[in-house]
């Protein structure tokens, strides 16, 4: 592997000279983004299949064998539709907004380790970086709602923004004990710290709090109030069509995969196998299995629960999850002090 990289590097330096590092970075980004986007498009198919099965239906099965080409058909449809801009919209902001939803969801992937050493940028504040970048998604939502110049969109955007900001608090606090246990913000260190015991065992309530918070954070059912179709038409993307609508969609699904990957790293031991003798299966596969399971839970939840009422949503975030997370931070600290782990 190292020799092949060496050959590629020397070839690239010969071809591009001084700008080779930039080109190499671009290549790495593309190698990461390609599979992520494919996963995102197939997650849409998986969602329809899983929810279909749970509702005793079949789901899409017309395009390609078992509906496997459905994502491409959807993409083609979205590409060839007209991007409609409302007359009273703020055009520039209106067009930037969908990009601002998708880009943070993709940017954060650069710090996610898929296996030991397989990470685009092994920054030592990994978890903070991911949290910071993913907190930017709220701007796309707010901008789209405001720029559409539509009451439904604006209400949806306000709801979504306050929901995301509120649940970010609970999510952030539920991550702190993990960082305390690992003694590092680096995602690779956090995974390696779980070699003996996955974090989900000592921090089980927090894993639940984290998972429910990210469901709210990604605006998925039962917390999909921003797009509550019964009351707000479609929330902040009412006025969007064609690919600008598609970008919101991609952003939502990319975010789902991202938070699942993060949950895997923080609580499920990343690429580590559950028992030692299973380590013949490469770490990457374990990572994929765990992320896949969490994504399945996302879809499972969507097929099961009805939508929350808005005030109850806020109550849950601030009055239930935040105290639980704070108490568990205290408990973790006390336990670490008692057992001399710090």
């Amino acid at each position: 592997m190292a020799e092949i990289l060496q050959v590629i590097h020397s070839f690239g330096e010969g071809l591009f000279g001084a700008i080779w590092p930039l080109v190499w970075a671009l290549i790495k980004i593309n190698v990461l983004m390609g599979p992520v986007m494919i996963c995102v498009s197939y997650l849409t198919l998986a969602e329809r299949k899983v929810i279909g099965a749970m509702q005793v239906r079949i789901g899409p099965n017309r395009v390609g064998f078992w509906g496997l080409l459905q994502p491409f058909a959807d993409a083609a449809k979205l590409f060839f539709k007209e991007t409609h801009i409302p007359a009273a919209a703020d055009t520039v902001v209106f067009l930037i907004a969908p990009t601002l939803v998708l880009v943070p969801a993709l940017l954060a992937w650069s710090a996610i380790p898929f296996a030991e050493g397989v990470v685009l940028a092994d920054v030592n504040i990994g978890i903070l970086y991911v949290l910071a970048i993913s907190s930017l998604g709220v701007y796309g939502v707010l901008m789209s709602g405001w720029a559409s110049n539509n009451r439904y969109s604006f209400l949806g955007a306000l709801r979504s923004a306050s929901q995301m900001v509120s649940y970010e608090v609970a999510m952030g606090f539920s991550i702190i004990p993990v960082v305390m246990l690992a003694g590092s913000l680096n995602l690779t260190d956090i995974v390696l710290d779980q070699k003996d015991m996955w974090n989900i065992i000592p921090l089980f309530p927090l894993a639940i709090v984290y998972f429910i918070s990210v469901v709210a954070e990604t605006n998925r059912t039962p917390f999909d109030l921003p797009e509550a179709e019964a009351e707000l038409v479609a929330g902040f993307f009412t006025e969007y069509s064609a690919m600008s609508f598609g970008l919101f969609f991609l952003g939502e699904y990319a975010n789902m995969i991202l938070v699942s990957a993060l949950a895997t790293i923080l609580f499920l031991g990343g690429w580590l196998p559950p028992v030692e003798w299973l380590s013949i299966i490469p770490g990457f596969v374990w990572f994929a299995i765990k992320v896949g399971f969490l994504l399945f839970v996302f879809l499972w939840i969507r097929a099961t629960f009805p939508r929350y009422r808005y005030d109850q949503l806020m109550r849950l975030g601030w009055k239930v999850f935040l105290p639980i997370a704070l108490i568990w931070i205290f408990v973790t600290g006390a336990a670490m002090h008692l057992f001399g782990l710090a």
Binding site: P21, L22, D90, V93, V123, N124, I125, L128, Y129, L131, A132, I133, S135, L136, V138, Y139, L142, M143, W146, F154, L158, A161, S162, V165, E168, L185, Q312, R315
Partner: protein
């Protein structure tokens, strides 16, 4: 070379966005440019390898504070043309204040020389990344100011809640605990009603 190029790029974006905050006619655009200013400042922090500060800047200022700004600004209906009508009347005063500030800043810039130990950035010690270094300083040397600042923030938080919390006696509130504790025996009463005698 490359790093310098990137620095000037981000610096230009920062300055440009900061001036757009003031110039922009639409108040929402102003806030969005403010957000851009924060972000490119965070990028500049990354360039000087202060990635912890950068992440905190993005999280706190962009993820929370600026969102609240945006909330407020989007809700209020400000007519900027109305506000700008009297600009020229206040122009002399503005120029005077701005001029004084400029003179002061130039005076400081010309006369102030940093002490020897601050003139060069202290290199980070081997094996200690800046998050750890920052934490050590905050929780040892500056423990008291740090804790006091957090206490003041807490007081402000509680104060905001107390100032806005209004409880009305006649308001019907939902008590979810109470609802969950309801049993069938409390809620349902079975009555035998004779034919033609029921209400």
């Amino acid at each position: 070379m490359l790093v310098e190029l990137i620095f000037y790029l981000f610096a230009a974006i920062t300055v440009g966005a900061a001036s757009m905050v003031v110039i922009s006619k639409n108040q929402v655009h102003s806030v969005l440019f403010l957000v851009l200013t924060f972000f490119s400042t965070a990028c500049l922090f990354v360039l000087i390898q202060a990635e912890f500060l950068a992440a905190i800047l993005v999280m706190v200022y962009m993820g929370a504070v600026a969102v609240l700004f945006l909330f407020v600004v989007m809700m209020i209906d400000l007519d900027f043309a109305e506000l700008r009508k009297n600009t020229y009347e206040h122009l002399p005063l503005g120029i005077a204040v701005g001029g004084v500030m400029l003179v002061e800043m130039v005076a400081i810039g010309v006369t102030y020389h940093a002490p020897e130990h601050l003139a060069v950035a202290t290199p980070t010690p081997e094996g200690v990344h800046n998050t750890l270094a920052l934490g050590r300083v905050l929780y040892s040397k500056y423990l008291l100011p740090f804790e006091m600042a957090s206490l003041i923030l807490l007081v402000a938080l509680i104060g905001a809640v107390v100032l806005t919390l209004r409880s009305r006696k006649d308001r019907k509130r939902q008590d979810i605990g109470k609802q969950l504790a309801r049993t069938r025996d409390e809620a349902v009463e079975v009555k035998k009603v004779k034919s033609w005698e029921g209400a």
